[in-house]
């Protein structure tokens, strides 16, 4: 009987506290963009929810979770590299543009956040036992075998850990999404207590079938990808202000030894590209010159075919680093056009892949 007073105290205080925080401190719904719709899990998945502190795509791709190996194995061409590739190119459109009558090309976007390298993209192919395909790799990043944060961390996980890590991110997103309409979130900072919406992280959704980003959502700015972002920055202008004109032509580009070895081990045909961006660092110009110096006219042992994407007209949603949804289509078209103009052997013989049983 005595514990009745426990439930009385519990329910009274819980109701009072919830009403107080919900009614008197919540951000008014009119002052915030609507929360995104929950993904249709048969079509797309939350690949990153920044409030969970980690991204799910690394684990899903690397460990072949949720049967992602099936669409991966169907693909002929992989887009590998960092989030510049993730946001800057569309695998679905590239596949369509490269297809010819009687020869369908399927592309898959394996670009990953966390400044991931092309090397990790090849590691994903190796782990999923995919070989004999083509990869379009981002040439602008470090080009080393792997970057030292998210990729290696994901590689240290086993399958159970990888599932746990992904489900942990999804559970956090789902609970934040569910409580967003009724509760605020209090943040204690050095300058006082701030009230923000409950769903407080940036969300990225990707499509299972192609790996393309289908949604980018920000708690303050709302849906910014592939739709219209609140702000747009012209990449060419922003990079020019930092001394970079993005006038790199196609040709051959030197590629690091480890990346070439990884590609050779997978009998994967490597083609390189740059997605124009405006790096907010003082060394940007120096970095660009170094990349420029890598371009060669004729093929050598350590060079690979390079397809340039012009910066003119490309827009970014975050000040110059990641392209908007509209610019993604434009950049993808330019990449496809580059392949038609240059003798880069991009599309492997599909029949041969399956005959060899890869």
């Amino acid at each position: 009987m005595i514990w009745r007073t426990y439930w009385l105290g519990f329910s009274t205080c819980a109701l009072t506290a919830l009403i107080f925080v919900g009614r008197f401190t919540a951000v008014p719904p009119t002052q915030r963009p609507p929360r995104p719709d929950l993904p249709t899990l048969s079509r797309s998945f939350p690949s990153e929810y920044s409030a969970a502190g980690s991204d799910a795509a690394h684990d899903i791709f690397l460990h072949g979770l949720f049967n992602i190996g099936t669409p991966l194995r169907r693909a002929d061409v992989f887009l590998i590299g960092s989030s510049h590739i993730e946001f800057g190119l569309s695998a679905a459109e590239l596949g369509f543009l490269l297809s010819r009558p009687g020869h369908e090309v399927r592309a898959y976007n394996l670009g990953l956040g966390c400044g991931e390298s092309a090397g990790f993209g090849l590691e994903i192919l190796a782990k999923n036992r995919i070989s004999g395909r083509s990869a379009i790799a981002e040439a602008g990043m470090l080009n080393a075998a792997a970057t030292p944060i998210c990729g290696p961390e994901s590689a240290r996980r086993d399958v159970v850990q990888a599932y746990a890590s992904v489900l942990r991110i999804w559970a956090k997103y789902l609970s934040d999404w569910a409580l967003d309409p009724v509760l605020p979130r209090f943040v204690f900072a050095e300058d006082g207590v701030h009230v923000q919406r409950f769903l407080y992280g940036m969300l990225i959704e990707r499509e299972w079938k192609t790996g393309d980003v289908v949604l980018g959502w920000h708690p303050v700015e709302g849906t910014f990808y592939p739709g219209q972002p609140m702000r747009e920055t012209e990449v060419a202008t922003a990079s020019k202000e930092r001394g970079v004109d993005w006038k790199i032509d196609g040709g051959q580009i030197t590629v690091s030894g480890p990346l070439l070895q990884q590609a050779a081990a997978l009998t994967t045909n490597l083609t390189m590209t740059f997605l124009p961006w405006a790096r907010p660092m003082s060394s940007f110009e120096g970095w660009y010159r170094a990349q420029f110096a890598r371009i060669q006219k004729d093929p050598l042992e350590r060079t690979r075919c390079f397809v340039a994407i012009a910066a003119d007209g490309l827009l970014s949603w975050d000040g110059g680093n990641h392209l908007t949804g509209k610019s993604r289509a434009l950049a993808t078209k330019r990449l496809a056009a580059g392949f038609q103009a240059r003798p880069c052997d991009i599309v492997p013989d599909r029949a041969k892949i399956f005959e060899e049983g890869h």
């Binding site: 005595i2 514990w3 009745r4 007073t5 426990y6 439930w7 009385l8 105290g9 519990f10 329910s11 009274t12 205080c13 819980a14 506290a17 919830l18 925080v21 969970a52 502190g53 980690s54 961390e153 994901s154 240290r156 996980r157 086993d158 159970v160 850990q161 746990a164 890590s165 489900l167 942990r168 999804w170 559970a171 956090k172 789902l174 609970s175 409580l179 509760l183 605020p184 979130r185 209090f186 943040v187 204690f188 900072a189 050095e190 300058d191 409950f198 407080y200």
Partner: protein
């Protein structure tokens, strides 16, 4: 490679994760309400415990299964062979347990120490510390010794697995003895207070861990790691040491409360692990209040077998020092942990010699203050990544320049969270003094307020400190 990051990176499922709670709460509710045989229910909990362990990596799971298989076989062997052979078997199994612990936890530490002394160049092994190995080793060893001493009976497979795998205490304690736990196995207990008290403990444990400890950690970790965006003053350093005391209390007491509360929700009792250590009036008193189950384990299986306090003053001092040094080393493979243990050992020996722990009045008040300052000072060695960093930190505390007295806003904010650790201890001390009929209502209100705070206050994601041990 750091042990914490070695197996699977930073982001792993812990008791405060949405995913864990979303699975645990319905799991506990089903087990409470569903009419299923007790034995089946316990097998389900065993399976859940192993799945939880597997989520931290297959190495942890395989090492754990290997060690418990050997120990279980030893318990059968000890019963079947004669008294003398049983003792040998006991010694061999305990040696094996500590060898496994030593290999995974201390191998690289010994390599470093040996290289330093002998000027050799032995290389590190790339070892990931299996989750919970320090804690389950203590569980296994205490059971073997109690079995040999006929204080407990030999357990069957289910009882044994349930005792050692039980997930609320598996990872970081409380270290529960077989005699405390075995009578609960195979029983269906319907105690009315388990649900409300379990909820109170889980909600307040999450508050301590997620809101208090993790927010303090977010603010002071950069100072310990030397990555702060500002230059901390001398007073900042003093405050950071005190805040770490609050952080580690909130982290570990929070974990213990969640573990004890989860266990209550499942219908099993675990012993309390913290009794308001910031109110300890002496170091001896501190160790009766801090990580109580570990202190008792060290007392019963190390200090007393060494002779305890029965062999004269000097021998007692040596026994205390040995116990505290090994207790320090148990926490981590590093000289800073040894120094931390030595500081506590030296403090306890000193207060025994001077009789300070038995005084009353002003001396007692003064010793209370000295005790808390000594404990705070010792935490510097416990927290600092290495000895050099600890000494640098201590010298920075002595900064007496005018700028040395400025407190940075981040530290002031941290002090606000630190208050949460103090308030929690004062609350637990005070609530038992309320009239009996008021206590449930107060606990209900606290559960609700802590639960709402857990929901709406932003908590940075950090792994429990004691999961590393």
């Amino acid at each position: 490679m750091g042990a914490a990051a070695a197996e699977g990176g930073r982001f792993r499922v812990t008791y405060v994760d949405t995913l864990f709670l979303a699975l645990f709460l319905p799991f506990a509710a089903i087990l409470r309400c569903a009419i299923i045989p007790v034995r089946l229910r316990e097998w389900v909990i065993i399976a859940a415990s192993l799945i939880f362990l597997a989520s931290w990596g297959h190495v942890s799971l395989l090492v754990f299964l290997g060690v418990i298989a050997v120990n279980f076989a030893a318990t059968i062997g000890m019963e079947r062979v004669g008294e003398r052979a049983s003792r040998y078997l006991l010694a061999a199994t305990i040696a094996g347990d500590f060898l496994a612990l030593g290999y995974f936890k201390y191998f690289n530490f010994f390599v470093d120490s040996f290289n330093g002394v002998a000027r050799t160049t032995l290389v590190h092994q790339d070892l990931a510390l299996p989750l919970a190995i320090s804690f389950y080793t203590f569980h296994l060893v205490s059971y073997l010794i109690d079995l040999q001493g006929r204080r407990v009976r030999r357990a069957g497979v289910r009882e044994y697995l349930f005792y050692v795998t039980y997930f609320p205490h598996l990872v970081a304690g409380p270290i529960v003895r077989a005699w405390q736990f075995f009578p609960q196995i195979g029983e269906r207990r319907g105690i009315q207070s388990d649900l409300p008290l379990g909820l109170y403990q889980v909600a307040s444990g999450i508050f301590l861990k997620s809101i208090v400890a993790d927010n303090i950690a977010q603010l002071i970790d950069p100072i310990w790691d030397g990555t702060a965006t500002f230059v901390p003053s001398g007073v900042d350093h003093l405050a950071v040491a005190a805040l770490y005391y609050c952080q580690i209390y909130a982290d570990f007491a929070g974990y213990s409360l969640i573990a004890i509360g989860m266990s209550r929700l499942l219908g099993y009792r675990l012993p309390p692990n913290f009794r308001q250590p910031m109110f300890a009036s002496s170091l001896q008193d501190f160790w009766r209040r801090w990580n109580v189950t570990l202190s008792r384990w060290l007392r019963d299986y190390l200090y007393r077998p060494l002779g305890g306090n029965r062999a004269g003053r000097w021998r007692t001092g040596v026994n205390i020092m040995a116990t505290m040094l090994l207790g320090g080393l148990w926490h981590g493979a590093g000289w800073t942990f040894v120094i931390w243990g030595a500081m506590h050992g030296a403090g306890i020996v000193s207060e025994r010699i001077l009789g300070l722990n038995r005084r009353r009045g002003v001396v007692r008040a003064g010793w209370f203050l000295a005790t808390q300052l000594w404990v705070t000072f010792a935490w510097i060695f416990f927290r600092a990544p290495d000895l050099h960093r600890a000494l640098t930190f201590i010298s920075a505390m002595a900064d007496r320049s005018p700028s040395g007295f400025v407190i940075h806003p981040a530290i002031r904010l941290g002090a606000g969270f630190g208050l949460g650790a103090l308030v929690h201890q004062a609350y637990e001390r005070g609530i038992v003094r309320l009239p009996r009929r008021w206590i449930p209502g107060a606990l209900g209100a606290t559960t609700a307020l802590a639960g709402v705070a857990d929901l709406v206050i932003l908590a940075p994601s950090k792994v429990f400190i004691y999961f590393k041990f």
